[in-house]
């Protein structure tokens, strides 16, 4: 008779480390931390099998506040550190916590390659459109014209859009949420955790010190129904306080239409997160408030594809199967040898 020890039931507080959280009061990061701690117990994973890896920046202090394994690494390199870890230890669930500067500027290269390899990592990019930890320079997601200490006459760098980058690298899971939309955020994090392969999540996060209100249009209870659109798989793209507007495809371009007046739900674009072709997800990532569109939140894309960490280990197994387990003495004696007596 075997007795299986049941996993202890964990509470959100079990995931809190004993370190004081030192983000500025009012920072959006608190909400993301809270939702993460709330979501993790629902996974049924033992705490020791969770690892949080981060780079540098405000968001990257995250691992210190989690009572799991973790590493606060160096600027931009978290995806690469996590790649080494996950490659050796596919049994662990590995999270990468990064920000718009860390992930898209100094670490852009690693992010891109990690995604295209479909490493089984969950990457959460806190996008506050500013460098917070270095006190307020413009970031790769700051809008054109953004005036900061390092751009007193306005930023002239065309901004990057995190989800467009991720989809361009053919990420197998891409989602967006908002720090204050806690129910939605928790659900998106759960979906990311359940996905096998790289799960890339952008979170609109407010930096109330250096870039306060950057996402107000998407968070304000009076406007958010008009400025955001909650994606649901298999459903038409409908938004608006009265759910009277939708997105229709006009050729290759999306357009906002009003329902009624000869336009029915069937005329609208239907969301298909499982489409193997990433173009539709890319199109959604291009819908911007500044261009008159609601910005989609939720899961843009969720498809299955082979994972690097799984395959690299599978190659080891295959090699052992075809050649036998490595024998050092046989290797040393392979090829031409001679005896000296």
């Amino acid at each position: 008779m075997s007795i299986e020890t049941p996993l202890p039931v964990l509470k959100p507080s079990d995931f809190a480390s004993d370190q004081d959280v030192r983000w500025c009061p009012g920072c959006g990061d608190y909400s993301i931390l809270a939702q993460m701690k709330k979501m993790l117990p629902t996974l049924g994973l033992p705490r020791e099998n969770l690892v949080f890896i981060s780079g540098i920046g405000c968001s990257s202090r995250f691992p210190y506040y989690m009572n799991t394994y973790g590493m606060h690494s160096i600027h931009g390199r978290a995806p690469a550190v996590a790649t080494g870890l996950k490659t050796c230890r596919p049994d662990l669930q590995v999270w990468v916590i990064t920000g718009d500067g860390d992930g898209l500027s100094i670490g852009g290269n690693h992010l891109m390659h990690c995604i295209r390899r479909n490493m089984d990592l969950n990457i959460v990019l806190f996008n506050n459109r500013i460098y917070g930890l270095t006190k307020g320079q413009y970031s790769p997601t700051s809008p054109l014209g953004k005036k900061t200490k390092s751009s007193p006459m306005g930023a002239i760098d065309n901004p990057l859009h995190p989800l467009s980058i991720a989809i361009g690298c053919e990420a197998t899971f891409v989602a967006r949420s908002i720090d204050t939309n806690i129910t939605h955020l928790g659900a998106v994090l759960k979906r990311a955790a359940d996905h096998q392969g790289t799960a890339f999540v952008e979170v609109y996060q407010n930096c109330n010190v250096f870039n306060d209100g950057a996402w107000d249009y998407a968070k304000d209870r009076n406007t958010k129904a008009e400025t955001t659109l909650e994606l649901e798989h298999g459903k038409p793209l409908i938004f608006g306080k009265d759910r009277d507007k939708g997105i229709r495809l006009n050729g290759l371009d999306p357009e906002v239409v009003e329902l009624g007046k000869g336009i029915s739900e069937d005329d609208l674009l239907f969301h298909d997160e499982r489409s193997p072709e990433p173009s539709l997800a890319y199109l959604l990532s291009r819908m911007r408030y500044e261009d008159g569109f609601p910005e989609p939140i939720g899961v843009f894309r969720s498809v299955d594809a082979p994972r690097y960490d799984e395959q690299i280990n599978e190659q080891v197994n295959q090699s052992i199967k075809s050649k036998g387990r490595g024998d050092l003495e046989a290797l040393f004696n392979s090829g031409d040898t001679w005896k000296v007596s």
């Binding site: 394994y69 040393f332 001679w338």
Partner: protein
């Protein structure tokens, strides 16, 4: 095969040095490798020096495209690929022009006569044909129409002329094999295994090889055959081994001896890529090779793999190591064990990618921000790369620290006979990870043992959850700490931990009397030239001793005592005095440098002449 040619007289030699040179597409590296293996199989001690251009195919016939391979083989123990060449094979005028200076007066010169035509001569910068103008009178010159004879030899094989001409290197090999009485068998076996799928190519190469051999046997102009008897090496089974291969095998063995999975994070770079290639071939040894997107990812994935609990290694060369600098700081502050291999090449910047140098010692010792000490070891020969991998890993895990291993292009690409060790001779490398903890106490990742080493707790272990990182940590608890005194304590502690390794590493050995007029201090790949030069000086009665450093940080604890007992210290280095500066500042002694940065190894004569200039 019926031949009526009477056997030619055989001259016995103690040793000889042969160099094959030609266009980089002429297959000279292959010719050299085959000659090396054959000589090693015959029982000679051998040392080799492949020398090739950075361009894969520089314009044909130009000096820039010349590739060479030098083999020194002997009936005695040897340590270098030879200062001067006894027999030079030049496949074209450019090869002759760039290599003739190394051929000793009276040496044998084999030219591919067919390549010495107008265009080839012009490309090499000759206004007259040296094969005909008498300028090569001081050598035993043999102009051989290798292209024509090769075409004739392979005409029945059904190859195009272009393909036929690719067999020329086998003709040249055959001729040199005859000259030194080497067997064709190993090369015939190679041809079989390499070209078995293209029988016509296999047949042609075989025909060209034999044609070259028979040419030597029959042509009257070449009157003597040479014989170099087997060397008296330590009994055992031997094979030929290349430095990078030895290093890769050392890593495999270290992983085995410590019961670890091996992870290599690497980005392709000359001359280190062969370590990646070799390990990628051996996945069945439980090896994960990760070809990263850049050197930074190669380094940081290595840190991730070390955190995971694997034997974690990254291998690169100078410019790549420069990119790893920030990651190395993280490796040091997280106190995770891993190996960082630098196969040094000529710098700065891209420098001389295919040429050797020892100019990254400062980079290894000091090339990081902050007080960031790392142990540094250097291999001295191709075969030694095997041992050093094991030794470096043993130190890395005992002291929980990244360890630098320096080799260089010269020993990484060079080869020598290697006595194959029995696994039973190789000590195990014990590693312990703390086990699960259920007492609910908070785990302290920076508690220390008597070596000041912290525990290697790996993810997945219940109760040991902890966070590492690049911010300064409180000793013991591992919490982020900005306390000024703790920071100084940690900086001193990390330095002390590395310095304490001196208690574990062997005492410095000395070759020669304990005191005298001159001590030659060397490190890394210059070992062979230094030991040979010092032995020659000792044989001529000079009071010279030699100590070769394997540990560059920390130094063996008796090094200071040794240095003080000599009137003068000479430090030959393929840089502008990097070890010299460290020795001078560490021991407050005067030391003379012999420095060279030409992308080439030292010759024995250069070192001997310096010794002679310092000691009467």
């Amino acid at each position: 095969m019926a031949t009526t040619t009477p056997p030619k007289p055989v001259t016995n030699l103690d040793e000889a040095t042969v160099r094959f040179c030609g266009d980089s597409g002429d297959g000279m590296q292959l010719a050299g490798t085959q000659f090396t293996n054959t000589s090693a199989l015959l029982g000679n001690d051998v040392a080799t020096f492949p020398d090739f251009p950075a361009e894969i195919r520089a314009p044909r016939g130009t000096r820039a495209g010349v590739s060479g391979f030098q083999i020194h083989f002997s009936s005695n123990e040897i340590f270098t690929p030879g200062d001067t060449v006894d027999a030079l094979v030049a496949m074209n005028p450019a090869a002759l022009a760039t290599n003739l200076a190394d051929l000793r007066q009276g040496g044998i010169l084999l030219l591919n006569e067919d390549a010495f035509e107008k265009k080839g001569l012009e490309q090499a910068g000759y206004t007259t044909n040296p094969a005909e103008d008498g300028s090569l009178e001081g050598y035993k010159l043999h102009s051989v129409p290798m292209t024509k004879l090769t075409r004739l030899a392979v005409e029945d094989c059904g190859l195009s002329q272009k393909e036929a001409d690719r067999c020329r290197n086998f003709f040249a090999m055959g001729l040199v094999f005859w000259l030194y009485g080497r067997s064709l068998e190993p090369t015939l076996r190679y041809i079989d295994s390499k070209f078995g799928k293209r029988p016509e190519v296999a047949q042609a190469n075989t025909a060209a090889l034999k044609a070259g051999y028979h040419y030597g046997e029959t042509v009257e102009a070449i009157s003597t055959q040479y014989h170099v008897a087997p060397a008296k090496l330590t009994p055992g089974t031997y094979r030929n081994i290349i430095g990078n291969q030895a290093l890769a095998w050392g890593l495999l063995t270290a992983a085995h001896m410590s019961a670890k999975q091996l992870f290599l994070g690497a980005y392709p770079i000359t001359p280190a890529s062969d370590i990646l290639h070799e390990l990628a071939k051996h996945k069945n040894f439980n090896v994960l090779t990760f070809q990263a997107e850049d050197e930074i990812a190669a380094m940081t994935s290595t840190i991730g793999a070390a955190f995971a609990g694997s034997m974690s290694v990254t291998a690169s060369s100078g410019p790549g190591i420069a990119l790893k600098g920030e990651g190395l700081g993280l490796a040091v502050i997280t106190e995770l064990p891993m190996l960082v291999i630098n196969v040094q090449r000529g710098g700065p910047s891209t420098g001389l990618p295919t040429k050797t140098e020892q100019s990254d010692l400062n980079q290894a010792l000091f090339g990081r921000n902050g007080e960031c000490p790392m142990p540094v070891l250097a291999a001295r020969s191709p075969g030694d790369c095997f041992d050093i991998a094991l030794e470096a890993w043993k130190l890395a895990v005992a002291y929980m620290t990244p360890v630098f291993v320096l080799t260089d292009g010269y020993i990484a690409n060079g080869s020598e006979p290697w006595r194959i060790p029995a696994l039973s001779e190789i000590p195990k490398i014990p590693i312990t990870h703390p086990g699960p903890s259920a007492n609910g106490d908070r785990f302290s990742p920076y508690q220390r043992d008597d070596k000041l080493s912290r525990p290697w707790a790996i993810p997945g272990t219940p109760g040991l959850e902890h966070r590492l990182g690049g911010l300064e940590k409180q000793d013991g608890s591992g919490n982020v700490s900005y306390d000024p005194n703790n920071h100084e304590h940690m900086c001193r502690l990390r330095a002390e931990k590395v310095a304490n390794m001196a208690n574990d590493i062997p005492l410095q050995e000395l070759d020669g009397p304990e005191s005298g007029d001159l001590l030659v201090v060397s490190w890394g790949g210059t070992y062979g030239a230094c030991v040979t030069a010092v032995h020659a000086a000792q044989a001529s009665g000079k009071k010279v001793s030699h100590c070769h450093l394997r540990y560059l940080n920390p130094f063996p604890r008796n090094l200071g005592e040794i240095l003080k007992k000599f009137d003068r210290i000479l430090i030959p280095e393929l840089n502008l005095g990097q070890l010299g500066a460290v020795i001078r500042s560490s021991f407050l002694i005067d030391a003379v440098g012999l420095n060279k940065v030409q992308g080439k190894p030292f010759s024995v004569a250069e070192i001997l002449s310096k010794i002679n200039s310092l000691v009467a």
